[in-house]
């Protein structure tokens, strides 16, 4: 039954669009500067509780910074990291996968072996080690999360390329003198895109969570930048005394990731039912 699915997917899409809109409009919407400390207003509870005020609707954190503002600006960081890292991984992975599948031979062997090695590597250890070398920062975190994610895309792209390589239209195009790059771009890539899109959608969700985990271990975007993961990390020492610090960013992550996952489900059902087995 497609109708309920579509409705749920619509809600998910709405969540994503709203988050992106809020993130973009953050400077206009935020009640306060997210980095401004106000020690006297430290740990004020949300407005509807005793001691709260509507100047800080969802309360303030351990340094008196407004939670709503940090959530809004944090949406920027989480969404940018999520999408950029996946775009990076996707482009890198698809490129490598296309080339690997098309040309085969030693290049293919080498790339696939490299992929196997990377998969056997505990992902967090790789992230920790690389970030320790290059230092943490928005760009570096995107780089690390992107570069470590290429393998799945490469495999899918390679699989498609392998099965298409000898098909008639490809052979025909080659006979007509088309260059390899053209063939890959014009004929192979469009067939790869549906599966890649589905995988990428789920990856965005996973990347947002991965960024939160990195922040939990102290390796995410450094302070005072307001990423949701960093907010969760700051809030975990105040679970009983300042529960709003961990709850709201946690809910934010949950909402956005849920939305993305739901949209991903719908995309998969629409674009490529075959993939149900592979995910």
């Amino acid at each position: 039954m497609r109708v309920p699915r579509d409705r749920v997917a619509l809600v998910g899409l709405a969540v994503i669009v709203i988050s992106a809109a809020l993130a973009t409009l953050a400077p206009a919407l935020a009640p306060a500067d997210p980095a401004r400390n106000d020690l006297l207003a430290r740990l004020t509870p949300p407005a509807w509780m005793a001691g709260g005020s509507w100047a800080h609707p969802l309360g303030t954190d351990t340094l008196g910074r407004d939670v709503v503002s940090r959530l809004l600006y944090g949406a920027r960081v989480s969404l940018i990291v999520g999408f950029s890292a996946v775009v990076l991984a996707g482009v890198l992975g698809v490129l490598l996968g296309l080339v690997s599948g098309y040309y085969g031979g030693r290049l293919d062997d080498a790339l696939m072996r490299l992929g196997d090695v990377q998969l056997a590597f505990p992902a967090l250890v790789l992230a920790i080690a690389v970030l320790a070398v290059v230092g943490s920062g928005l760009g570096n975190v995107v780089l690390v999360l992107g570069v470590t994610g290429w393998v799945t895309y490469a495999r899918i792209a390679r699989g498609e390329t392998l099965s298409l390589r000898h098909r008639e239209f490809v052979e025909g195009a080659r006979a007509l003198g088309a260059r390899d790059a053209e063939i890959l771009w014009r004929h192979v890539l469009p067939n790869v895109l549906p599966s890649i899109t589905v995988v990428a959608t789920f990856s965005v969700a996973r990347t947002i969570i991965a960024e939160a985990s990195l922040s939990f271990l102290g390796l995410g975007i450094p302070p005072p930048a307001p990423s949701w993961g960093a907010m969760l990390d700051e809030g975990r020492n105040y679970l009983t005394t300042g529960w709003w610090l961990a709850l709201f960013p946690g809910l934010a992550i949950l909402a956005v990731v849920l939305g993305i996952n739901v949209v991903g489900d719908w995309l998969r059902d629409t674009l490529d039912p075959r993939l149900e087995r592979g995910l």
């Binding site: 980095a35 401004r36 400390n37 020690l39 006297l40 430290r42 740990l43 351990t62 340094l63 320790a132 230092g135 943490s136 102290g218 450094p222 302070p223 005072p224 700051e234 975990r236 020492n237 105040y238 679970l239 009983t240 005394t241 300042g242």
Partner: protein
């Protein structure tokens, strides 16, 4: 009295005398201050982390000290007020300007029965100063403090008799009793026989607790040393449980799974203080947290030809005046910290209280202008922050201080890195000219010298070396044997250092501990370790 009766009398007397309990063989007390206690109890204490080693030579930071000092002891012990008291040495005194004599305690044995005597002390001194290692057949270890480098004026040591040791120096050393006397001592024959690596597995010491089980990263279990030279502990077993998460530590305390918790975060300490089933105790520590600034001249670090931006003491003083310490102590620490303008911790011997740095942003900006920084040419600071290394409150303080610097016109960028990378940057000397770093400093010793020494030699943390007049004043404190004169010199030095402001002092730590009402007589110390000798569990 007939000869027979006299003989019987003597035999009876001998029997009575030999039946009298010797040290450590007394039945453990069953009540304390009128309250019934459980002498067979296991005291469970939750700590933030495990120790990587038990060999005291490898390192004695605050976490390690908690484990190491239950097993091992030093010549000089410390009471709960921070005063030195006899430990393994009964007394120590200078016999002349260049010789110290330690009189050792008799009747002390290590956990395996090996006797403690002058030979033990000589062996340990050899290890500390890396002498005669091949003679003993033991390996060197990468040591936390290399005594031979830091105290090169200690020349030789010898035993006068089995319980007296003399240490000779090449110049007067009034604090020798402190820097030698606080190092925990390991057994001689045992270490030679088993090798120094065995010290990290199942070590034996002279301490009030014997090691039973060490499940790494999980817990360490001890049992009472009944042959202890002092009063044996009041609980039969001790368990140091590792719980890294503060929330989990407190949850365990509330659920009764542990009896005592260290390092209670300030806000939780306040909340717990209102809970009737829990007692919160606090104690001032020697940990001083600061922002260190690059004040080196261009030839003393990898500068690319530029002096450090903070060579001018006016700039450093301006930054000190820009910090609102009252707000930090009240809001972030809830009173569990104090402001100290002296470079020496308030509880160290030789501390002279200094007028606090006022919070005066106007004066700060005036000083910066005097030093040549204006709105068009602002002072910039690249601050390196080792996040999560010193705890949440430290990270929050630095974030707040950064905003305070910005409020007086300094452009600050914060770079978070892990502690190891920070140390590496400092070792290589690659701190940028306008660089600074936030770090804390504590001390294993009792004397002020440990603190004021920071700016006298080329070390990792010394980025504002003493100018010549302060250096010679420091050196004179090192050599002054008369206690009163030395205290006066130290006071003078502290006052000048306060005005010279080598660093931006942030706060000095007060640690909070929480325990259930079953725990009796727990008194926190000012040292890096907790002392459980007098602690009992109510029945």
């Amino acid at each position: 009295m007939t000869p027979l009766r006299r003989a019987v009398l003597w035999v009876l007397i001998a029997l009575v005398v030999s039946w009298h309990p010797g040290p450590g063989e007394a039945a453990p007390p069953t009540s304390v201050g009128g309250v019934a206690i459980d002498p067979d109890a296991e005291l469970i204490v939750a700590l933030t982390d495990d120790t990587p080693n038990l060999d005291p030579r490898i390192g004695m930071g605050s976490i390690r000290s908690n484990y190491i000092r239950q097993l091992f002891e030093s010549l000089v012990d410390v009471d709960h007020q921070g005063k030195p008291v006899p430990g393994l040495a009964l007394s120590w005194k200078p016999v002349n300007d260049v010789t110290w004599e330690f009189a050792l305690r008799r009747g002390v044995t290590f956990h395996d029965g090996e006797p403690f005597n002058a030979d033990t002390v000589l062996f340990n001194l050899d290890r500390m100063f890396r002498k005669n290692l091949d003679r003993w057949g033991i390996k060197d270890v990468a040591a936390g403090t290399a005594f031979d480098k830091v105290y090169p004026f200690v020349t030789r040591w010898e035993k006068v008799d089995d319980f007296t040791v003399r240490v000779h120096t090449s110049e007067p050393a009034p604090t020798l009793w402190d820097f030698l006397g606080r190092e925990p001592l390991v057994p001689r024959a045992w270490t030679i026989k088993n090798g120094v690596e065995a010290l990290n597995d199942r070590p034996v010491g002279t301490g009030p607790w014997k090691l039973v089980v060490w499940k790494r990263k999980d817990h360490m279990a001890f049992e009472r040393n009944d042959a202890y030279w002092g009063t044996p502990p009041l609980a039969r077993r001790l368990r140091l449980q590792v719980i890294p998460e503060a929330a989990a530590r407190l949850a365990a305390l509330r659920a009764g799974q542990v009896h005592l918790v260290e390092a209670v975060p300030p806000l939780d300490a306040e909340v717990l203080g209102r809970n009737a089933a829990v007692r919160v105790v606090t104690s001032v520590q020697k940990l001083a947290c600061r922002v260190y600034l690059n004040g080196r001249t261009k030839d003393s670090y990898e500068s690319g030809g530029r002096d450090g931006a903070f060579v001018d003491p006016r700039v450093r003083m301006a930054l000190n005046l820009a910090v609102n310490r009252e707000a930090i102590i009240a809001k972030i620490f809830h009173g569990l910290a104090l402001a100290n303008a002296s470079p020496v911790a308030t509880v160290a011997y030789g501390h002279a209280p200094q007028p606090p740095y006022p919070y005066d942003t106007g004066r700060a900006q005036a000083l910066l202008a005097e030093a040549g920084f204006t709105r068009d040419n602002p002072l910039t600071l690249q601050l390196l922050l080792p996040a999560k290394h010193y705890g949440q409150a430290f990270d929050e303080t630095v974030a707040a201080v950064v905003e305070m610097f910005k409020a007086v016109g300094v452009q600050v960028t914060v770079q978070t890195l892990d502690f190891g990378t920070l140390l590496q940057t400092l070792t290589k000397g690659t701190l940028p000219p306008n660089g600074g770093f936030a770090a804390c400093r504590t001390s294993n010793n009792l004397d002020a010298d440990d603190f004021v020494r920071d700016w006298a030699t080329t070390t990792l943390v010394n980025w504002t070396p003493y100018p010549p007049e302060l250096l010679s004043l420091y050196r004179s404190t090192r050599r002054q044997v008369d206690a009163r004169k030395r205290l006066a010199l130290l006071a003078d030095l502290q006052q000048r250092v306060r005005d010279w402001a080598p660093v931006v002092s942030l706060y000095q730590e007060k640690k909070a501990y929480a325990h259930t009402t079953r725990v009796l007589q727990f008194v926190p110390t000012q040292e890096l370790n907790m002392d459980f000798r007098g602690v009992a569990l109510r029945r």
